[in-house]
Subunit: 411 residues, 4 copies
């Protein structure tokens, strides 16, 4: 049975972002809204007003929506007084206590709106009936018998509005998104997205850095390529050399990937690898000659997954496949970017920026790096739908591969 | 003379943030708007429509505003065809060329809307009149004679809308704020804000970490306290000990601040400092005894600037002034936070989080740290007006002090 | 059959660290050394000299050792001329080519020591027999027929010496340790270390931060506690609250750990959790009452694993178990630190520093954090045997638990 | 008058690094040493022994040296008992108290060596004469009358030795270098080094990233070029474009450097800048045409300072001066690197790595970046003399320029 409730918004509800957040809340929580009245402020100093009915399939959902709308400044018409319950013990809140935001707040007590003094987030609100005053209390200040506000009726929140006429150097902040999320669950959701993209005939572009190989995740990426989950690869000369070196010598930049031991002759492996591929005439020729027998590049060649290796001034060699001219390499990257429906940016700021520069805002992006600044920088580049994850690519890729391949085998 | 122009917005203009950004653009660029018509989509699948007149004092400003509105999806009614100019040379754009966003874009050519193929930001748009097609070209692909779109008339941009019905794990991104700003200019603006806060009778709370002393900025902070620009100080035991040690021995954690030489007996200075202040009975008593003769804590005592030193499990000593009980210390911090009008958070995540937890969203916050993750985390805590600056507190504070004090002497 | 070889070291071989590194090389590579002659420079301007015989069980090992000693400046007595081989093709090195360090280098050609010009690491050395000159060549500069130095005989490397009489502000660098290691393999080795510590009757102290719970690794840490691999726990109030909240509500700071959905009433869960534990009288009482049924704290109570929860000014509540006095809490941490044989510092800088301050240099330390600066700072605090790992604790702990528990079940 | 003292070292004094550190201490503190006896352990299980006389110009210096040697494990022959003083008050240490390291420590009391229990750094050592036991006490545990060890005589410290036969995954740590240094003082020292390099006829290579321009430090770098302190410049296309854009439009990537205002038409400036320079035929031609009138690139052209602009796949344009082929660009960078005597790496990881790859270990390097991971990575690349500084290049370069130019004018 559909349940519904009416809410009002008042003030500079558009430029403060309040209206946008309220619409977002309803949609995110699977509700519906019907705007009954909307008067927009015609000038920047004129306030706006909206009244809408919010509905959902069950009372629980409606309440969740109402709660969120309330925190964002919406309020119900014809408010009643606040409901009060005494604190059962010192430092214990009554069930259903109202937990504050850090925005200016009022509570309706005995027909009168009282400002909540010392507003601060995650506190309870306690009413002093004699003084007719309301104030926040942190948990450890609660005393038995304190009259604590419960539920949201009779409570009004007023999120700050964008300062009229410029705020000087101060930015107008609109509530950030917390970034801490459980790693394994999120990886599973990314796995779902890859699988769905493939099922819908979309193309997945993996943009990868050498840290992926150093951290031991090469085999798992190779499996994803072999099983058809990666349609294009974008990387640098270093990535390909480390991947091939690992296959030939079991080392990456000279360190044994399995035993962690440093054979101490290792740096030569890197140069030998390049030297041999040059002699063979390139990666595909080296695969054909049996020189390269596994790894990410091997799977790309065997499964006709096109790759772009873009050169840089930090390269050894480079391999014959590496496009050393920056303009030519950028054009090759551009072509990949335009074809992709989902882009996985895996621990490479450099190649990811190059790809990101060429992406329309409608392409989905997943960005994984251990450096939060890298993730922030890449998410800022303009995709409208993006996931950023600050994690270790050496554990991310194995978990991702497991998820995707398990899902496939269970279908 | 006031100039004006009419623009329209269509689509899910509220929940995509388009409307909010457009209002913000007009206000930021010192324009005025008058909403002439506004039809809000009543349901989540119904689009909205707005038409407004934008005006400003001069044609230049109106054009700047129009440009920004355009980039955010607004368009003029009754559009004309695009204006085209031939590229004067290979790799050279004609004056006034239209520079793309990364959003889906259309251009009106010969009465018909053509989609711009391969959309990508910061490109030119070139029309092929024979094929009646439009496509982006990067600068180095421009050929002499290419018909390049100039100005914005006849161009339509469609920023992505929030996906209806949840986007899975993907966040809906709405255009980040670039953070690279010239350091010295921004510091000057922060100095202005401090001075104005004081002139308006407001209170400035400095929340400071020990890195401020290690980096040699103690003298400059002490001057700001002495000259009356800091009304309250919030710190930990370590900050106070390093500050006093520097005054007594010229070292901070044993290293000579001036000569950079490590007297190699240094760590004892730290313990001696605490031991002596304990013997004197506290910081104020040690100032009175002549044991402490300069530094930040000295100036606080001499100028009656109240300070809270909150204890932690990492402290040596601690000093008698340090509040070792966490609940008591939090209450002292809370009181400071509630009184402050402007909070300077200077290279301390820990104390800044504690202060931030107690702040209403209406208090202005300046957050300075060398670690971008710290700045991001602090700005996310809920102030509506905030400045974040990733810089070295060892050069920030001297520059700030110079600015504030120069301004004072020139008034 | 034991094979051996004699090498010499000359110069300021002690203060440059050359001697130390050479001894280290032999031990790391399972060789033996016998010092035959050692003349130490009596004054700082007098050079030292060492001659030693290096031996190992097989020729392969001896050669690995010799290679490393050579790179660190050791050389064989009575050197022969370098061996030269022509490059087989352009950009291809002959087998066994000598790969340069970046230290000043000489090669013995036709009885004469030639300096290698333009020294640079990871290059080949090519001899011009007409000019009697030797120079580095990068791979892509190699031309067919170039006379390339192979093997190490006839090559002398001279690592820089510590400048006599102070280097000004410049630090004397002695060769860093590369930090990129395959994540999963290293976690397995850490698992081995935990298991061995337990088998030898040692005690494992886990120092943990709230990110461990947010990132979804709580269940796996709980298993490690239950199975007896963790003997003591050191954390803050926040860790315990998040862990208990997750058990009671399936959320951490209000976000659902499994579905990633934000119930939007979430922040109250945090306060409720504290409120209920306060009402029960503490964590152990709440476990007994059936209020807490799983999680890390539950397993600690059930398995008599002592925990220290140290308070801070950022705490909500706090829980009755939290020690709010900083001095008292530090003493409790100190006691744990003194008892531990292996300390796991898991994504908490604050508690790790507090523990690290109390550790003797002989206690082993494993430090895991996603922030490389945190890992560096903790490793600098003075343990003589330490592992630092920059990774995501949300994938680290599950992988570690799996390793340890698999090992146990296979024994 | 020269004062001297004899010390002994015993144990695995070479591979633990003890001997090296002791030699370093004497040299750093301007002392002299004379090794009187040195017996090296012939095998890895045989200990070594050294006895040396340490001397300096005054008693104060000798004592400083002795203190440091002592902390590193050296001890005096024929030790006396420890000196004890009673603590004058609770929580107050007597003058000259012995401050502990975190290494295993013994004290000689009444002719007998007692182990110090619960060793932990920065504590006092208290003797219980009845129990004949010694233990550490933190400051707040000191009670009036406690018998506290003073001075170092009668105290023995044993820094841990490298484990014989491999330490598993654990690295052997040998005491890190603290990195917190006062910013302004260190910049002055770097300024001195530049000036001295120039006075000695050396060459200074500046490797610079675009953040230098964004952060407003372009003018100051331009002055350093104009005044002859920079001999070569290594950068990318982006650096040059931002620098020229700033000169032409007062913006960098569209933002006004002085007013911080975003003209909102800004991104076109970037493309225009490139377009115009292409039209002129390159930077030098654009300077000659009067198109470029100031900035870093302008000063390079006017003062014949050679520059290398290396291309990348992230470039717009690029400028005609940019070397787009990676191999060719690397060779140009290599030439610069081989000529340099001092390299300043200023907020660019990418170009710094490319330059660092080509440097001999004897070239001095200064590396400045706001990201500590970048500084660490660059310092690890192999220069024997290096300064790393984690600071804001936007305040670093102005302070550096001021220092260098002031010094010049005062000479």
């Amino acid at each position: 049975m559909v349940r519904s409730r009416t809410v009002e918004l008042e003030g500079h509800i558009i430029d403060s972002g309040m209206m946008q957040r309220c619409f977002g809340v309803v949609m995110d929580l699977d509700g519906e809204f019907e705007v009954e009245e909307f008067r927009v402020g015609k000038h920047k100093d004129e306030e706006s007003y909206a009244r809408m009915t919010v509905s959902a399939d069950d009372e629980e959902t409606v309440r969740s929506i109402l709660h969120e709308l309330h925190q964002n400044g919406a309020h119900v018409p014809n408010p009643s007084d606040v409901a009060l319950k005494p604190a059962p013990e010192d430092q214990v809140v009554p069930h259903g206590f109202y937990s504050t935001t850090n925005h200016p707040t009022q509570v309706r007590y005995d027909g009168e709106w009282l400002p909540v003094e010392n507003i601060e987030m995650d506190c309870a609100v306690v009413i002093d009936p004699d003084e007719r005053r309301a104030a926040t209390k942190v948990l450890n200040a609660i005393e038995e018998g304190d009259l604590v506000v419960t539920d949201e009726s009779g409570v009004r929140v007023a999120p700050p509005e964008r300062p009229r006429g410029g705020g000087g150097p101060f930015g107008f902040m609109q509530g950030g998104v917390s970034s801490e999320r459980p790693s394994e669950s999120l990886i599973r959701e990314i796995g779902e997205t890859i699988a769905e993209t493939k099922e819908n005939g979309g193309k997945v572009l993996a943009v990868v850095g050498p840290a992926l190989i150093h951290s031991g995740a090469g085999d798992d990426l190779a499996r994803l390529v072999r099983e058809g989950y990666i349609d294009m690869l974008s990387a640098g000369n270093g990535f390909a050399v480390h991947d091939i070196e690992r296959g030939r010598y079991g080392t990456s930049l000279g360190m044994d990937i399995e035993t962690l031991e440093h054979p101490r002759k290792g740096h030569k492996h890197h140069i030998y690898t390049i030297s041999e591929v040059i002699r063979a005439g390139g990666i595909a020729a080296a695969v054909e000659d049996g020189l390269i027998e596994d790894g990410v590049m091997y799977e790309c060649v065997e499964n006709d997954v096109p790759y772009v290796l873009a050169g840089s001034i930090r390269d050894d060699g480079p391999l014959p496949d590496t496009i050393t001219d920056a303009v030519e390499a950028q054009n090759a990257v551009r072509e990949q970017a335009h074809e992709a429906d989902l882009v996985l940016m895996l621990s490479t700021l450099l190649h990811s920026v190059a790809v990101g520069n060429c992406l329309p805002s409608t392409t989905r992006v997943v960005c994984v790096d251990i450096n939060p600044a890298t993730v922030t920088q890449l998410l800022d580049r303009g995709s409208a739908q993006a996931i950023g994850m600050v994690t270790d690519v050496g554990t991310f890729v194995p978990t991702l591969a497991e998820t995707v391949l398990e899902r496939a085998s269970s279908n």
